[in-house]
């Protein structure tokens, strides 16, 4: 991808981010913080690339460390979000 494509994608994503976050209901702002945390661990992709490559061993260990840290976040973030969200219930109508 050329730089301008990436830039275009970034600019449009900022608009999407703006609108999508404003549409989150205030009651779910805490889960929002947790889930954005989880998805920002997509940085794991960078760690995997570094860890996968043979060659420079320093880079590989850094990559593995990044993968481990990001994994804490991914599993922890999604799980804690799920735990919170499962608590939000409607009144049971009897």
């Amino acid at each position: 991808m050329d730089f301008i494509s990436i830039l275009s994608i970034f600019v449009l994503s900022c608009f999407v981010g703006y609108y999508v976050v404003w549409s989150v209901t205030p009651a779910l702002h805490t889960p929002l913080m947790a889930v954005t945390n989880a998805i920002s661990s997509v940085i794991i992709v960078g760690g995997l690339i570094a860890a996968a490559a043979a060659g420079v061993p320093g880079a590989k260990w850094l990559g593995l460390a990044a993968v481990a840290l990001a994994s804490v976040n991914i599993f922890g973030g999604f799980a804690v979000t799920q735990r919170m969200l499962s608590m939000y219930k409607k009144k049971e109508r009897k």
Binding site: M1, A27, L28, T30, L32, N37, G46, A70, V72
Partner: protein, 484 residues
């Protein structure tokens, strides 16, 4: 012009189309994950989308790279996953602010590590130019990504320590701190420029990179220590935003759509939540970041006078009597409920009242507690149905028809000084009109203690206010006993 065009030519040109498509799909999944949060019903499905997106991104990456050792990678994921799941299962809901800060620090550190790995092994990332140097534009992205990541890391560590009580919440004010901070930030930018223009920028070449990382760790630390513990939520949210921009910077380096979309989503989310908090507190973002609020305010608030003035104290029995006689009760929870972990017994109390035919509603101020949505998640934990919980705008007009406003551990968010007293630090912040109810009950531990803003609340001394001085959990337990 040629120069510029060269600068813009990013690497890794021959990635197969399906890979790019897969990352796009992952990005769209993340959008849908946040979109799901527009209502509790759709939120669980949204979270599912998020997991699917992450799985797609990970699998695609693994499938398209020659993997030196899948066992090691598997171990790293397994180890991280176990820790993450354990923490997620064990953590108390009241500790969410700390947890979020801790998680942020991990994302920040991961970004630093990835940038460093790219620095050492650029060819794996497809950012090595034909001349044996790392592409100039990638150098800028890497340096910025690493710097933002490092700031996020050290800032989040301090925020965690302050929120978790490992460190005093009091702001630590260095002399000339604004000058030091701005100078260090300027240094980082200057070094980034030097590094981008440098002629010796092959794999692992360029001390600038490491100095940038070191300075960024320092700046994260310096930026956060002067900020009072109570301002931490705004800081955590700001750091969330940073971690998003760091991910986006790495996404530019890798030409990865999923990372760019995520970065923009997370970046906006953090920025908007910070904005919402600042607006609801009627404070400027700059004044939060400039730091020192907690201290100035507690010095400024004239708490001394509180003890001299007369007020009406009540017992749990008095409260139980008033509540059971009421037709309509509005409960206003605040930070004190979180501290006392009183949400479960509060829910028992409302059940008893409902059995007696009393109409009970909850009113949530946008910045009640210490985190956006803090009260909502605690009430949800205690099984309060979310359709009995109302936002400020939706319920404020109903206080006039309520017999009892039951304020449990909230203070600032009920303070009418915000409406009337121009000199008050909370002037202009929207507040819940609890004083319009026939009777107002206030649970707090002592007349001396003030809330977050450190200002006195006029309501404690009004005729139709009854103070219930005790720990919130104990007090509500006693009320429940009296109601039975």
């Amino acid at each position: 012009m040629m120069e510029f065009a060269l600068l813009l030519a990013a690497g890794a040109a021959d990635v197969p189309a399906w890979v790019l498509l897969a990352y796009l799909v992952a990005g769209v999944c993340f959008i849908l994950a946040l979109r799901g949060l527009s209502s509790p019903e759709s939120s669980r499905r949204g979270n599912g989308y998020g997991m699917v997106g992450m799985a797609i991104a990970v699998v695609t990456t693994l499938a398209t790279h020659e993997i030196a050792s899948i066992a090691e990678i598997g171990m790293a994921i397994f180890l991280g996953g176990i820790i993450g799941l354990t923490v997620a299962r064990r953590i108390a809901m009241t500790a969410m602010p700390q947890l979020v800060a801790a998680f942020h620090s991990l994302v920040g550190m991961a970004a630093v590590l990835v940038a460093a790995a790219a620095f050492l092994n650029p060819s794996a990332f497809g950012i090595l130019g034909a001349d044996g140097n790392i592409l100039a534009v990638s150098r800028i992205e890497m340096a910025l990504g690493a710097a933002i990541g490092a700031i996020t890391f050290s800032g989040s560590v301090i925020a965690f320590a302050k929120l978790n009580g490992n460190m005093s919440g009091a702001p630590i004010l260095l002399p000339a701190r604004h000058v030091i901070n701005l100078g260090t930030l300027g240094g980082i930018l200057a070094l980034t420029g030097l590094y981008a223009l440098s002629g010796d920028a092959g794999a692992g070449e360029g001390m600038e990179f490491w100095i940038i990382v070191a300075l960024a760790f320092l700046v994260g630390f310096l930026l956060i220590i002067p900020i009072g513990g109570a301002d931490m939520p705004v800081v955590v949210s700001m750091l969330n935003s940073y971690s998003g921009w760091a991910a986006a910077a790495m996404g530019f380096t890798l030409g990865n759509t999923a990372m760019i979309i995520t970065g923009a989503l997370v970046g906006s989310s953090g920025a908007i939540l910070s904005y919402i908090m600042c607006r609801a507190m009627n404070r400027s973002f700059v004044s939060v970041i400039a730091g020192g609020f907690g201290q100035d305010a507690s010095a400024g608030g004239d708490k001394g006078s509180a003890i001299d003035r007369s007020y009406k104290a009540g017992s749990a029995e008095d409260a139980a009597f008033l509540l059971s006689q009421a037709d309509k009760v509005i409960i206003v929870p605040g930070y004190g409920m979180a501290v006392a972990q009183a949400q479960h017994v509060l829910r028992e109390m409302t059940d008893l009242l409902k059995e007696k035919g009393v109409e009970v509603k909850f009113a949530i101020h946008p910045v009640a507690g210490r985190m956006p949505g803090h009260m909502n998640v605690l009430l949800a934990e205690a099984n309060v149905p979310y359709d009995e919980v109302f936002e400020l705008e939706d319920i404020n007009s109903e206080f006039a028809q309520a017999d009892v406003a039951f304020v449990i551990g909230a203070n600032d968010v009920t303070n009418p000084a915000a409406k009337t007293d121009k000199t008050s630090p909370i002037y202009g912040m929207p507040v819940l009109d609890v004083e319009k109810a026939r009777t107002t009950l206030f649970i707090k531990r002592s007349m001396g203690g003030a809330g977050y803003a450190g200002v006195e609340n006029e309501l404690f001394f009004r005729d139709n206010t009854m103070m219930l001085l005790s720990d919130a959990k104990k007090m509500v337990e006693e009320i429940v006993k009296s109601l039975d």
